[in-house]
């Protein structure tokens, strides 16, 4: 039982160290890949293959969740049934398209170009409305100096980016937009990115040394 918990931790830490060492000392002084660099590449390639298998597990998970919804007649079970039918049909079309059946190839392409792409584009368009509404709601939810600065800056950037009807590009607005994006927003973004980089470093180290174990087992 104990071994069951320790083994994945030891494997994860060992492979983590090898990959890290590959990043640090992966290239010789002459610019050629060192043994550590080659090992790192091998491990990362193995990880890519495992990720491919994980997609299959993920799709299986999707099937289980939605079959359960239909079986228990939960809210939205109709949509789950629709999702499962679409999944099976697309899977079959993809399989047949792989064996060069012309009708299946064309239908498989159409499923993406005529169904998925327009739906995702529509959701993107919906996002414009959602964000405009969220900006108005922001003043209601958090009326403070930062929110006001946020909205004024967003407005200036918007009017400075879009060409005005009959006027075209207004130099004062586009110059103001350029100043905001390059100086205060650029400086702020760099500060935030440095913080994110430091957070990434410490999170990575916690996992590397087994303090955080997202692969099971008690956290240290």
């Amino acid at each position: 039982m104990k071994f069951k918990g320790v083994f994945p931790t030891v494997v994860a830490i060992a492979f983590g160290f090898l990959v890290l060492a590959g990043y640090l000392f992966g290239v010789n002084a002459g610019g050629t890949p060192s043994l550590l660099g080659q090992l790192q590449l091998l491990i990362l390639n193995m990880a890519v293959i495992l990720t491919g298998f994980a997609i299959l597990v993920g799709v299986f998970n999707l099937l289980i969740v939605h079959t359960g919804k239909i079986r228990h007649k939960q809210k939205g079970a109709f949509y789950s049934a629709f999702l499962l039918i679409a999944l099976v049909v697309t899977f079959m079309l993809g399989l047949l398209a792989h064996y060069n059946l012309p009708v299946a190839k064309s239908l498989f392409g159409d499923a993406f170009l005529s169904i998925q792409l327009p739906i995702e584009t529509s959701l993107m368009a919906l996002l414009v409305v959602t964000l405009t509404y969220a900006s108005i709601r922001l003043l209601h939810r958090r009326l403070n100096l930062l929110s006001v600065i946020f909205l004024i800056t967003a407005f200036i950037i918007m009017v400075g980016t879009a060409p005005w009807p009959f006027l075209g590009d207004v130099p004062i607005l586009s110059n103001l937009r350029a100043w905001i994006t390059q100086i205060p927003a650029g400086a702020g973004a760099r500060g935030i990115l440095l913080g994110v980089a430091l957070g990434t470093l410490t999170t990575g180290l916690r996992i590397l040394f087994g303090s955080d174990r997202p692969y099971g087992g008690k956290n240290g």
Partner: protein, 252 residues
């Protein structure tokens, strides 16, 4: 600067960080840490309490950060919070659900929920609680919105690598009158979430979730290490600017 020297500098930074983290973690075990207050985490604790009291569910969305990319760190921070929240809500009627847009992340979320349920005597593990809702940004968002609306959710946490589609999730939660805490490592998404989420986290606050939710002394120590490294970077930038200025005026 040659590659080996760069590697040694990198190794030095990592060694310093690890030494500080372990040293500070040992100190933290003796004295409790004191951090600045982040109201979002205080409200998250209150929301978790409500989840346990009213028998509703907690939803954690982990984003789409693939494990073999640098975006995985934000997903890992999300998994740490998921583990902690699953432990805190183990006394409730329903286990939390975790949605993600990456298959490997889904497997890890299931494992995290299972481990959290095993750690608690009252914990219930539901294999369908860790879900892959879609593999493209908007299909993932559409699937997660369905979970937010249909699963008796009263608190939703978005933590990981998201694109602008996170605004749709935050909006769905807002419409359902659900508490939302949202954080992403993506700059554009942070701006979007600032406008659309009830409790947005900015910058490295995402990585502080474990420390603020009492996930362990190492989390608290890693926050202090981040502060120390930040000061070192500030000093390096100031010294660099000063050296450059002295070169321009001809003193160096």
């Amino acid at each position: 600067m040659n590659n080996i020297l760069l590697g040694l500098i990198g190794f030095g930074i990592i060694f310093l960080s690890v030494a500080l983290m372990w040293g500070l973690a040992a100190l933290r075990r003796k004295s409790p840490p004191a951090f600045r207050e982040i109201p979002a985490f205080t409200r998250l604790r209150q929301a978790v309490g409500r989840v346990v009291e009213d028998g509703s569910r907690l939803h954690v969305s982990l984003g789409r950060g693939a494990l073999i990319t640098s975006q995985s760190a934000s997903a890992m921070a999300g998994l740490t919070l998921l583990r902690r929240l699953a432990e805190l809500t183990s006394a409730g009627d329903k286990p939390p659900i975790a949605t993600s847009g990456d298959a490997a992340l889904t497997i890890l979320s299931q494992d995290t929920l299972k481990t959290a349920s095993q750690a608690s005597s009252q914990g219930v593990y539901d294999p369908a609680a860790g879900r892959l809702t879609g593999l493209t940004p908007f299909s993932y968002a559409a699937g997660a919105i369905t979970a937010i609306r249909d699963e008796n959710i009263s608190a939703s946490v978005l933590m990981g690598n998201f694109g602008v589609e996170a605004a749709l999730l935050a909006d769905a939660a807002e419409r359902a009158n659900i508490f939302t805490l949202a954080a992403s490592d993506n700059l554009a998404t942070q701006a979007v979430l600032y406008a659309s989420a009830q409790e947005p986290l900015i910058g490295e606050e995402l990585y502080a979730a474990g420390a603020y939710m009492d996930a362990g002394p190492v989390h608290a120590a890693s926050l202090t290490v981040q502060d120390i490294l930040r000061w070192l970077i500030i000093i390096a930038i100031l010294v660099g600017a000063l050296v450059q200025l002295l070169r321009v005026v001809g003193i160096l």
